[in-house]
């Protein structure tokens, strides 16, 4: 089996979640790479889509921000933020959007904090804030979440709830008035988590080759069901080849 690095495993794990016909909302870095990998490997009719307003950009070079001029070149349409978020809240197009998000903290129900650690008014650590994260998490039916597997990040209680996951579980989104959906999968540097169809609680779905379930649980503040966990299939040589040669030849992200 071909050697691969962890970021390649994570990227491919995310790419596999993207289906043909999906409209992929992501940021830069690994989320953009996952979208590019999906388009080149398993979802040729998926569409990359940026909150800044560009649809289906060509990306001859990898952008370093969603406002990078590199997303504007040869796009199908260039608009603005209003267009982009409107498309995600739209009852027709929005139902085809899959979001890719990251966060400083996540809880059992996939709710995310990207705002502060500590007190809101005078925080211990201030992060960037929602950006479009809360929007996409509120609107769209499916989300991929990238996380570092650390105890301080998988927490029992968020310091601040920036982007809605399944809120308090089961019926949480419906009760609150959010659109159906929410996070689908959490991809970390060790594991892949999914959410129970009924309780909406996070469970361990997979662990990467060489990682034990115990290691994963040691890096979380809350417990999850591990009874469905299986080893994640490593990236295939074909997946790796496309990822390395077509998606990030300059190794700007990997």
């Amino acid at each position: 089996m071909e050697k691969y690095i962890l970021r390649e495993m994570m990227t491919i794990a995310a790419a596999r979640e993207i289906k043909n016909g999906d409209i992929v909302f992501g940021g830069t870095g690994i989320s953009m790479l996952a979208a590019m990998a999906a388009k080149n490997i398993n979802a040729p009719e998926s569409v990359m889509f940026f909150e800044t307003g560009a649809i289906d950009s060509k990306l001859d070079e990898i952008p370093l921000a969603v406002a990078d001029s590199r997303v504007m070149y040869l796009a199908a349409t260039n608009g603005g933020l209003f267009d982009a978020f409107t498309t995600m809240q739209n009852p027709i197009t929005g139902r085809h959007v899959i979001g890719i998000l990251g966060a400083a903290q996540i809880d059992l129900y996939g709710n995310l904090n990207t705002t502060v650690i500590g007190n809101y008014v005078k925080p211990k650590t201030r992060f960037s804030g929602s950006g479009g994260g809360c929007d996409v998490a509120s609107f769209v039916p499916r989300c991929i979440i990238f996380m570092q597997q650390e105890k301080k990040r998988f927490v029992k209680k968020l310091d601040y709830l920036t982007s809605p996951g399944h809120l308090d579980g089961a019926d949480g989104r419906r009760k609150t008035g959010l659109r159906e959906g929410g996070p689908t999968v959490v991809i970390t540097n060790m594991a892949v988590f999914r959410f129970d169809g009924l309780t909406k609680r996070m469970y361990l779905a997979g662990y990467y080759p060489g990682i034990t379930v115990q290691q994963i649980l040691e890096n979380m503040e809350f417990a999850v069901d591990v009874s469905h966990a299986a080893e994640v299939a490593p990236p295939t040589p074909e997946e790796l080849k496309i990822l390395r040669e077509k998606c990030d030849p300059q190794r700007l992200i990997l």
């Binding site: 990078d68 950006g131 994260g133």
Partner: protein, 326 residues
Amino acid sequence: MNTKDDKVMALSDAIREYVKDGSHISIGGFTINRNPMAAIYEIIRQGIRDLYLYAHSNGQGADELIGGGCVSRLDIAYGGNGKYAATCIRFRKAVQEGTIRVEDYSNFQMCLRFMAGAMGMPFLPTVSSLGTDLLNVWGFSEEERARDPKMPNQKMIVMDNPFGGWMDTPKVVLVPAIQPDVTILHVQKADKQGTGRIHGLTFADVEQAKSAKHVILTCEELVDTAVLRRNPDQNNIPFIHVDAVVPVPHGALPTACYGYYDYDPACLLHYVKCAKDDDLHREYLRKFIHGTKDHEGFIALNGGRERLDRIKADPETGYAVNLARG
């Protein structure tokens, strides 16, 4: 707004005329693209204080204004700057040290707030943020809001859908309009009357312009009215909203301007290094901003002509192909 035929002004005059201590302002661009940096440096140079800044993701511009000591209150969605700063550095410091006060929104919410202002409506609806702390946690109290006629009386309001289940939407969040005293944009082309043309993504610039009492347009090129009017479909800032037109070549530097130049990685990285250390940052302000007369002076200290050549946009792609981007 006004309908005058010639609105061309010097940058220092435009800032002095429309940006005052305590003004509520918004700036165009997004993270590392098309921020009105020349205007921002001029605000810092003029020592304007106590600004209320409305930002969605105004990365570099917001961070420098905050670092320059000009901002006391901030509505913001995203204080990051792409790969150059996951969280903007002077923004983070200022919030953690309590030297500015902040209230959080999402990017769409800020966008809707500008749009509401542009439409002359008190609010617009969304379902974004139901069940979150964006909705529940306020940065500014009801008392403070009640005292300040420039602030809406509430952060946001949740309302049951008055049309029953129409559009499968049981509840909406109403986000209140913003009406900045002044919005400052940097655009690629403008004429003396104030018609502006943005190439590439418009971000929320158009809504920000239309929501404001006054608009300052800085532009790469001042072009003849007749030239812009040959393609009126491509002009996205109507002159009736604009008060001042200021030609400033490279006015978005160190952020990018699609079709003209890329962001300047060397300048951005130097800023990051300075911003992280209070002493270095003080020195940065002293030398690069207060120590320069204008944007030309700032550029001269930041690599000058040689640097400009390196980031010059390729005419085909609109950015600098194969630029070393740090």
